[in-house]
Amino acid sequence: MIDFLHSSAVWGVLLTIGAFALGTWLNRKTGKAWCNPLLLGSIFVIVLLSALDIPYADYKASASPVSYLLLPATVSLAIPLYEKWELLQKNVVAILAGILSGVLTSLGSIMAMAWILKMEHIQAATLMPKSVTTAIGMDVAAALGGMAPLAGAVIILTGIVGSLIAESVCRICHIQDKMSKGIAIGTAAHAIGTSKALQMGEIEGAMSGLAIAVSGILTAFLAPVAATFLP
């Protein structure tokens, strides 16, 4: 069995899509925020790999075509950005102010944590880009001298938590405007949050997608500056 899985180039992709489909189905069926397709799909894969005692490296190699698409998918975020150009232009000040304040809050919070908890530079650099999309965040973490794989894990967990709490945060903070909801979710919880925002509505989804790109770019430029102030 393990030999077969080791030689098969397809099962990882198949398992990933199957687990995601099951997660999506459960999400639709229950409509619960915690039934997130990515969260459930990942849990299914983890459970199956552990139950059958399949090493993660085998799965990773076999599922690599899925991860390969992350770069073209991130570049494709240019399309929603372009499509909503008018809405973006009309509200450019509000959108930029919102995303910038979110990015600064994120970087500032990690910096404050680094000083208060006396974290090592490598740890703080790992957490620094935690709110931006993995493709950008992992590279930023590596460039700052952090641990890229660990940054990826923190970013993904951030995204999952972000999509779980999105509706509650918006309700508690009286964020009622659709555009503002989208910006908030995309800035705090990148692409994973955006999949939640898309469920909430078209404007939320588009604005969240926009926020992924802009917060990613802002973080790529601002994180290196912030990192010079780390202990």
């Binding site: 990882g12 687990a19 990515l38 799909g41 990942s42 894969v45 993660y56 799965y59 990773k60 599922a63 899925v66 698409l69 770069l71 073209p72 998918a73 991130t74 570049v75 494709s76 975020l77 240019a78 399309i79 950005l81 372009y82 509200n91 000040v93 509000a94 102010a97 919102g98 979110g102 809050t105 919070s109 990690i110 944590m113 974290m119 740890q123 935690k130 950008i136 930023v140 660990l150 990826g152 923190v154 993904i156 967990l157 951030t158 938590v161 945060v169 918006c170 964020i175 405007d177 503002s180 910006i183 908030a184 800035t187 919880a189 692409a191 994973i192 999949s195 990613g216 770019i217 790529a220």
Partner: protein
């Protein structure tokens, strides 16, 4: 065939992004360069929207799926995460909520101010 060509165009921007990331000494990843270049190309008309649209929206539409292999990989890093569990936990839960609240509230406040300004202007014109 149309979708293959669309995919090729997107890959070409990925490749250009990778090249810029190699050549320029800035800490900016290939994905960001590729994204900026594609927006510029769309705005200037070098690339038409219909030349990338379906494949691009398909890719952004399956974004969460693409994260599964990496998310499963967090399983391998449980021990590492455990070593710095307090900063990780704080960064993942309260900081995320705070970032979301701040950016949402700021966007809403500024947008409402703008709208109020614009409607005040329009009202002024009518008088």
């Amino acid at each position: 065939m149309k979708y293959i060509f669309q995919f090729c165009r997107i890959l070409a921007f990925c490749c250009l992004g990778e090249l810029l990331a190699k050549l320029l000494p800035l800490p900016i990843p290939a994905s960001v360069y590729g994204l900026i270049l594609l927006v510029i190309a769309l705005k200037t008309g070098v690339v038409k929207l219909e030349q990338v649209k379906e494949t691009g929206l398909f890719l952004t539409g399956i974004f969460p799926l693409l994260f599964i292999p990496a998310a499963v990989g967090t399983m391998e890093l449980v021990e590492e995460l455990g070593k710095m569990w307090l900063p990780c936990l704080l960064a993942i839960i309260p900081v995320t909520a705070l970032v979301m609240a701040v950016s949402g509230i700021v966007t809403q406040k500024v947008a409402r101010k703008n709208t109020a300004k614009i409607s005040a202007k329009e009202a002024g014109c009518r008088d």
